[in-house]
Amino acid sequence: MIVGDSKPLEEILEMIKDRPKVLVLGCRGCVTVCNVGGEKEVGILATTLRIARKKAGLPPTIDERTLERQCDPEYVEELAEVAEGYDAIISIACGVGPQFVSERYPTVRVFPGINTTFIGGALEHGVWGERCQSCGNCLVHNFGGLCPIARCSKSLMNGPCGGSANKKCEISPEVDCVWHLIVEKMEKMGRLQELAQVWPVKNWSTSRDGGPRKRVREDLKQ
């Protein structure tokens, strides 16, 4: 899923300070699963904003709404009747949300209420970890199912580098050395020999480096 983090309340209050009528807009996709932008979080943010604005003597009109998904025009369309009635929409979907909403309603100011952080998964309740950098050319099967692109601080394909110590990355004792994990896993699988080959240079053109990406499925197009 796409994982995000709430923006600080002060930053959001500053965004909407001169805007009397505000809509907090959630999404039932990834951000609901990672507890940052679903219906529940819409309620919490709206309540918090109301209290803060009331305290500051500002108009407390903060409406709430959660779309099925903000990354699908079909659901964004549901705001057609109401969008222009707001002075601000705070989207707490991933970075796609505020862009799709402001594209569809160009006269409305749309603000991002969260920071999109990474593509990852839940490690335990309340903890998420990065697992994918969407490089567009998945190779994880070669590395024991662990991605060195997303999880090595240097994205090395021929690690571990000289900074690996006690299974941790040189950048922080909080960060696992994924290359240590890869070596351990491959050894356990009896596949260590595969790591003895020099991995050739990667083609990054399928990644962000190749420019903004687009996927076209002719069979699905209307």
Partner: protein
């Protein structure tokens, strides 16, 4: 001969080689480079010129190398994959070799999080192995990475680094073999303090026959003080400084600690000289270039043989 550099000639003639290290200044002070170089002239085969080490911005390595050449020393150009993509790395190699640089050391480079611009983007388009392979290809096949022919191919003695004290220990010799397969003609190791562990590492290298495919230069860095020893032990990633050295430095008067550190370095070199599989030493007297001679002389390695 790959490049006919002094370092390559010395190693292929079977002499125990000595290399030094010099960090370019944090500015364009060319005089500072000349000043440091003076201390290393005639006592080492080649001087590694670091490439924005620890991700702190310094004078370009290739430029400092050129100053050394003009001063009559042989540089070893360090190049890290952190700051340049495949276009810039290939281009800089062509420029460097056009200026007369004959030794190149390929590294991935310390993460910029440690440096003085921690908010910068890192590149790592290639890793250190892919960089070696790219440069080997430019030299041996006379083509760019994309297979297109070069108008003048670099003649270089290619080096890599290995840290025998980084984890996982058992994988380090395999990784060194990969570096050799990718093109390393010589390997310089991280600073060695834990000699028993290094001995075990070298034994494995010899068992794998890697010492016959590549020259291994053991890294030696004198401990200047108890403070430095403690810092290295606690804060430098992948560094293994046994307590015995810290105790030994603590055992002498503060003013004598530097001399004791030099004594330790000399003892280490004597030990390394006798170790099968070790072809030389890489003396990294960091910001201590003027004391390098004492160490090399003390280890009985002067005068340097002429080849």
């Amino acid at each position: 001969m790959k490049s006919g550099s002094n370092l390559e000639k010395m190693l292929s003639a079977g002499h125990f080689a000595v290399t030094g290290e010099l960090g370019p200044p944090r500015g364009n002070n060319a005089e500072e480079v000349r000043h440091k170089a003076k201390h290393l002239k005639g006592i080492v085969e080649s001087v590694n010129i670091t490439d924005n080490q620890t991700a702190v911005v310094r004078m370009a390595s290739w430029a400092a190398c050129k100053i050394l050449i003009d001063e009559g020393l042989e540089p070893n150009l360090q190049m890290v994959a952190r700051d340049r993509n495949r276009i810039a790395l290939q281009s800089d190699l062509l420029g460097a070799t056009a200026l007369g640089i004959k030794n190149v050391l390929c590294l991935s480079g310390d993460h910029q999080r440690f440096g003085d611009h921690p908010e910068g983007k890192n590149v790592y388009d290639l890793d250190s192995l892919q960089l070696l392979d790219t440069f080997r290809k430019m030299r041996d096949e006379k083509t760019f990475l994309n297979g297109k022919e070069l108008d003048g191919a670099p003649e270089i003695f290619l080096g890599a680094a290995e840290n025998p004290f980084a984890d996982p220990f058992d994988f380090r010799p395999i990784r060194m073999a990969k570096k050799i397969a990718a093109g390393a003609n010589f390997i310089q190791t991280q600073c060695i303090y834990n000699m028993p562990k290094f001995r075990e590492f070298v034994k494995r290298i010899v068992d794998m026959g890697l010492h016959e495919k590549c020259y291994l230069l053991a890294g030696v860095t004198p401990l200047k003080s108890v403070g430095m020893a403690n810092y290295m032990a606690k804060f430098v990633p992948g560094m293994d400084v046994p307590d015995t050295f810290i105790k030994r430095l603590k055992g002498v008067d503060k003013k004598e600690q530097a001399a004791e550190g030099i004594k330790i370095a000399i003892e280490q070199i004597h030990e390394l000289k006798e170790m099968k599989g070790v072809a030389g030493v890489h003396v990294m007297a960091i910001e201590w270039e003027h004391r390098a001679k004492e160490i090399i002389e003390g280890a009985g390695l002067l005068p340097r043989p002429q080849v």
